[in-house]
Symmetry: none
Subunit: 132 residues, 4 copies
DNA sequence: GTGGTCTAGACCACA
DNA sequence: GTGGTCTAGACCACG
């Protein structure tokens, strides 16, 4: 696993964990059905309390990213995520609004902004041959 | 002022306040040099604690959006904002990363995402000369 | 508050807490908008850890029973609950199935069962004049 | 046997097993005296641990649903179940209470609830002589 | 060995 | 003073 946590950041550890795992899924480093480390294992790995990992896992489960399986432990949701529904798009919009407003205040043009987004999208493109 | 606060949201009130003011600046409803309500006045208006408004104003000042004069009160920064520097772009990127990763997991394409951004940009376009 | 917890029961404390509060709402002992005790207050009251109360409150929030309000603390959801949707009815059915199957094995007739349900429904009828 | 286990559900597997067998008895797909698969056989069939099947069988025995003979293996209790006694009715009531309270909060009327129960009862009615 | 629950006690952000 | 986060350590249910 490639999980890196910044214990000093002002973003909660469990939130960072969630983001790292979501990023892993987005760039297909974590594939549907793949097993994630156990709560205790991951907690020990990154040096945090097991409750912190537990909270991240549970929220990921509630949001549909993973399954907590009785036998196989914690796995990436085998069916992939549900597609974006209206509720999600609304939430997305809500979260982009303040970011875009601040960018406008700093004279970031719509084109610059979109180009930035495009370049970030590229980051997650798994381009099957870029490892090795 | 058109400030609407959602006391039930899980975003801190001072943060919502900041976002509302930044949004006002972005859509040029608040122009450089324009006077903002006093801490006390605004706090009374929207029914929140003095400290909360104070915190929002001070952070806005620290980020260059407003000036706090002992006598003239609080005004939108008369020179406009500094343009986006590298540090800002970096921060922007950081904040977009998790949003985009989650969107990819839900099959939102780069094009859809950019179109959403464009439509939000439109929201802030004041071309209608609707104030004054 | 009329919350009674059985620390010996094999049903988790946080679950009992949830049920007690839901029962309170059902019998209108807790009205929309009404304030619930603080996490720490309630925990001290019933002699459990604050995390246990916290978990109950959060799940109740996620299920729409309560709001965790920045200023007013924890309150019963002021708009009342959403009505039962299809998903809820499905879940209801799922939970009744094993109960009814076991009852059939013990020769409890459909009529007896329904009468039992009716009598439980009565229990929650707030019959506005039965207190005082 | 028609036993279906959902390994991703949050109900323990042994509990699901019990429910499936009880449901089978209720709809008379399993008749008094009928032989059930051996612990090993069933465990292999549905791909779970021996202990899990064992636990389910032993609890079913303790509750009077089945008999476990050292030689003849596991059979549905040949005399049928004991009828519901007061203790059972009390337990039944206990288990219905939280379900009904939650339903009231969602505006499910007593009539709707009873109708749902009736329709579930129908599900278990074997009147179609479909076995044998 | 896995996750689920609970406790005790701490620090911080928010209002 | 409120809830939010985190830690450390414990016991239990499950498989």
């Amino acid at each position: 696993m490639f999980i890196k946590i910044d214990l000093e950041a002002d973003i909660p550890i469990y939130e960072q964990l969630k983001q790292e795992i979501i990023a892993g899924i987005a760039k297909q480093a974590l594939l549907p059905g793949e097993k994630l480390p156990s709560v205790r294992g991951l907690a020990a790995d990154i040096g945090v309390n097991l409750h912190t990992v537990n909270k991240a896992y549970h929220q990921l489960r509630d949001e549909g990213y993973i399954l907590i399986h009785r036998q196989r432990g914690v796995v990436i949701h085998p069916d992939g995520m549900a597609q974006a529904d209206e509720a999600y798009m609304e939430k997305l919009k809500e979260s982009l609004h303040p970011i875009i407003a601040a960018s406008i205040c700093r004279d970031v043009s719509s084109e610059e902004f979109q180009q930035l987004c495009a370049s970030i999208y590229e980051t997650y493109n798994p381009r099957k041959d870029d490892e090795q």
